[in-house]
């Protein structure tokens, strides 16, 4: 009797009663649930010259699901960019971030949009995390007008000034002094915000890093240098490039923290801790132990300097999205099917964005000369003689 009643009512109002029929206890609607959960990070933090933060991270179901969704979007976006590159719609350089999504997501969760982030050329996902849209990403990759830099920057030059994303830089290591400059400006304006300057394990051997670190420590700038250690500087493994691979200790007098970069919650905890620290005590180094599945860029297969077993091993054991998925399922925050649905939605979003981006027009020829100088000196510029050379393209 009870069973038939259940089944009849479920056919009338499936949405409300479906969870009831599926599981035999009450479910609160998951997307807005903010009851705090405490989850332990995968490994404890290792610290240098400071107290490591606690392993227990406060989070909420809403946050975990948003992590899942955003990371799935990023993963999907990078794979789509891969196919676009192979279809020759994206040219030049394309550095993909899949595998490292937890760093971008965890960082966003630990800070506000008023804090600044500056990174190197592997910036697609960081841009997305900062509030960029898929349409802007794909348009910029394809060199169209609707891109975030109007097609003039390309894969390595994504910027979003209104949400504090300062790029997007091609020259290895050059963004670190820029990041310390951002921190200087924040200190100058007394904003109580911080700057995260991201770089890779390859850039960690640049001199300008240590120069900037010295100045930042000297002037107590709220700068946090984040080394995204994916263990390979293009084709060179870290043990072949650095005498001391403990990048978090390289700051010497600057405190450092080593974080499991595949665990979004650990990253979140570390960034929160670093922000508090930087506002009081000056710069800090975070080392994110992470991994990239793709090669350095699209022209690098990624398997000449590392074994496929290694790549698949990491994918099986440490994949950031899988970790969040397991957490969500373990805490019964959503079902397998719901997560699969989210992934399907994400896939569709990405496909739609690509389709829309493909329709976006190429920039006008006159755009060649815009934004070389700030408007006010006229749009056309310029060599020394201010001539506009017009050549008819065949």
């Amino acid at each position: 009797m009870a069973l038939s009643k259940l089944s009849s009512s479920s056919s009338l109002s499936t949405n409300i009663l479906k969870p009831l029929t599926n599981s035999f206890f009450l479910h609160r609607p998951i997307s807005t649930d903010t009851t705090p959960l405490t989850i332990e990070t995968s490994v404890p933090f290792t610290s240098h010259q400071c107290e490591a933060p606690s392993r227990s991270v406060e989070t909420t179901p809403k946050e975990l699901l948003s992590f899942f969704r955003q990371m799935a979007t990023m993963r999907r976006m990078e794979i789509a960019a891969d196919s676009l590159y192979k279809a020759k719609l994206v040219r030049g350089f394309c550095h993909l971030y899949d595998g490292q999504e937890a760093v971008a997501i965890g960082m966003e969760a630990g800070i506000t949009k008023k804090d600044s982030i500056i990174t190197a050329y592997r910036d697609h996902c960081t841009f997305l995390g900062r509030g960029g849209t898929l349409l802007e990403v794909f348009s910029e990759l394809m060199g169209r007008k609707d891109g975030c830099s109007h097609g003039k920057g390309g894969s390595m030059h994504f910027y979003k000034k209104d949400s504090g994303f300062y790029g997007g830089h091609g020259i290895v290591g050059a963004q670190i002094p820029l990041g310390c400059g951002l921190a200087f400006a924040q200190k100058y304006s007394k904003d109580e915000t911080v700057t995260f300057a991201l770089y890779g394990d390859g850039a960690a051997n640049q001199g300008q890093l240590f120069e900037a670190l010295n100045i930042a420590a000297l002037w107590d700038l709220p700068a946090i240098l984040v080394c995204e250690n994916n263990h390979y500087g293009m084709g060179t493994a870290e043990w072949r490039a650095a005498k001391s691979p403990s990048y978090y200790k390289r700051g010497d007098y600057v405190p450092g923290l080593k974080v499991d970069g595949m665990d979004a919650l650990a990253v979140k905890q570390a960034c929160k801790f670093a922000k508090e620290h930087a506002l009081k005590n000056g710069p800090m180094i975070l080392e994110m132990d992470t991994y990239r599945y793709h090669g350095h860029s699209m022209s690098d297969p990624g398997s000449t300097y590392r074994t496929r077993d290694e790549i698949s091993g990491v994918r099986q054991e440490r994949d950031p999205i899988e970790r969040i998925r397991k957490l969500i399922l373990a805490h019964d925050l959503a079902t397998e099917k719901e997560l699969k649905d989210i992934e399907k939605e994400v896939r569709k979003e990405v496909d739609d964005a690509i389709a829309k981006a493909k329709e976006s027009p190429m920039p006008e020829p006159s755009e060649l000369f815009t934004n070389v100088y700030v408007k006010g000196y006229g749009v056309e510029v310029f060599g020394a003689d201010r001539k506009e050379v017009r050549s008819a393209l065949p």
Binding site: K152, G153, F184
Partner: protein
């Protein structure tokens, strides 16, 4: 480094007020140009010409925006202005800097020994005491990173002035200047402006050796997105400094080690110089001599000899090294039909080389003779005094060149 005294030739010959009375100097600037707003010219490859007005002019309405000192307009009625005050070039730079720092709290200075030491050429002396350590920053010896920091700070809206103790040291920051400073406005689609000023002394000085006597204008000139200006007198030093700080574009201000102790009387009231305009130093009829920075004084010295010999050279201090003020230069060429370029850059790939190309492309029909470009020899600057003298252009060579050109 101690300030270096100007000792080339007779000291009196090189004071800019020698060209005309200091009283007339002030009056002429006020009278002839008060109604003239700064403008720029775009010459298109198909020959059509566009004139436009600089949007900055609305901010500078009370100021004398144009600083072309001409001899001809000296017969003006007395204005109500005060007499002006005398100072040295480095003091003029400091005055400009101080006025801008007072005016805008976003302006800050960073460089080696600019703060407590007062600046190696005393340009920033006293500013650290007045504005504090956060606005006048002593950096460690790390040009690459503090230039990068200046650019990063400029991306957020601060207006830093980065001082290279010697321009040659900025070679270490070339990556930051070229890739970030010049290009960020473009690659970000206009999102970021970089209102930075990079300044410092360069040029061949008093036996400083090869590495400390570099002329970087030739290396920086092809970086897209930056503007370059060179100052030569206290008047234009202060004016260009102020204009550069107010400009939204990255500006590189080239000073010269030997010119820091030039004395001149400058107006008391506020003024700026247009970043893109050349200065007419001495109008004439026979030949156009284009020069900038220290070579201006060698040219003026040669001009005295030339006048005695019966020539009438027109001397223009181009001031704006990128972009060139082809309007002023063009008008002059159309008048005289002969051009001599005197510069301190190397012969290969220097400012003179670019200027020669620009003039030839634009004004070929007006030239009666090939353009002569006198530049420094393509050698590292030697230490020995006599050899050093011969690396740069000397007045005697200028006289000979003009005589040959005017045959």
């Amino acid at each position: 480094m101690a300030a270096i005294f100007l000792g080339v030739g007779a000291a009196t010959a090189l004071s800019p007020s020698n060209c005309f009375d200091s009283k007339k100097f002030q009056l002429s600037t006020r009278r002839s140009l008060s109604g003239r707003k700064p403008w720029f010219l775009v010459v298109r490859s198909d020959g059509s010409v566009n004139l436009g007005s600089n949007q900055r002019s609305r901010r500078t309405q009370q100021l004398i925006t144009n600083a072309v000192a001409t001899k001809a307009d000296s017969a003006a009625s007395t204005s109500a202005s005060k007499q002006g005050h005398e100072l040295l070039l480095f003091e003029a730079l400091r005055e400009g800097l101080e006025e801008e720092m007072d005016r805008d709290p976003h302006v800050c200075v960073m460089g080696e020994d600019v703060g407590h030491y007062g600046g190696s050429y005393k340009v920033t002396k006293g500013l650290a005491d007045k504005y504090g350590d956060l606005r006048v920053l002593d950096t460690p010896i790390a040009e690459n990173s503090f230039t990068g920091m200046g650019i990063g700070a400029a991306m957020t809206g601060l207006r830093p002035i980065v001082e290279g103790m010697n321009m040659g040291f900025l070679l270490l920051a070339f990556n930051q200047i070229s890739n970030n400073c010049g290009m960020l406005h473009y690659t970000s689609g206009g999102q970021f402006t970089i209102p930075i000023v990079i300044r410092g002394p360069g040029g061949v000085g008093r036996q400083l050796g090869a590495e400390h006597s570099q002329r970087l204008e030739s290396y920086f000139q092809s970086i897209p997105g930056i503007q370059m200006v060179a100052c030569s007198t206290p008047y234009n030093a202060k004016g260009l400094m102020k204009a550069a700080i107010r400009s939204e574009n990255p500006v590189i201000l080239f000073e010269h080690v030997l010119l820091y102790n030039l004395k001149e009387r400058i107006p008391d009231e506020e003024y700026i110089c247009n970043l893109e305009e050349a200065e007419m130093v001495r109008p004439g009829e026979h030949v156009t001599i284009l020069t900038y920075s220290r070579m201006r004084y060698h040219v003026m010295q040669a001009a005295k000899t030339l006048v005695n010999k019966g020539y009438d050279p027109e001397v223009i201090d181009i001031r704006s090294l990128k972009p060139f003020d082809l309007y002023t230069i063009g008008n002059s060429i159309k008048k005289t039909h002969r051009v001599l370029i005197v510069e301190e850059c190397m012969r290969t790939g220097g400012i003179g080389a670019s200027l020669t190309a620009a003039i030839t492309e634009n004004f070929h029909d007006y030239l009666d003779a090939p353009i002569v470009c006198l530049s420094s020899q393509d050698v590292p600057t030697p230490y020995a005094g006599t050899l050093e003298e011969w690396t740069v252009v000397q007045p005697a060579q200028i006289v000979t060149a003009v005589e040959q050109l005017c045959q």
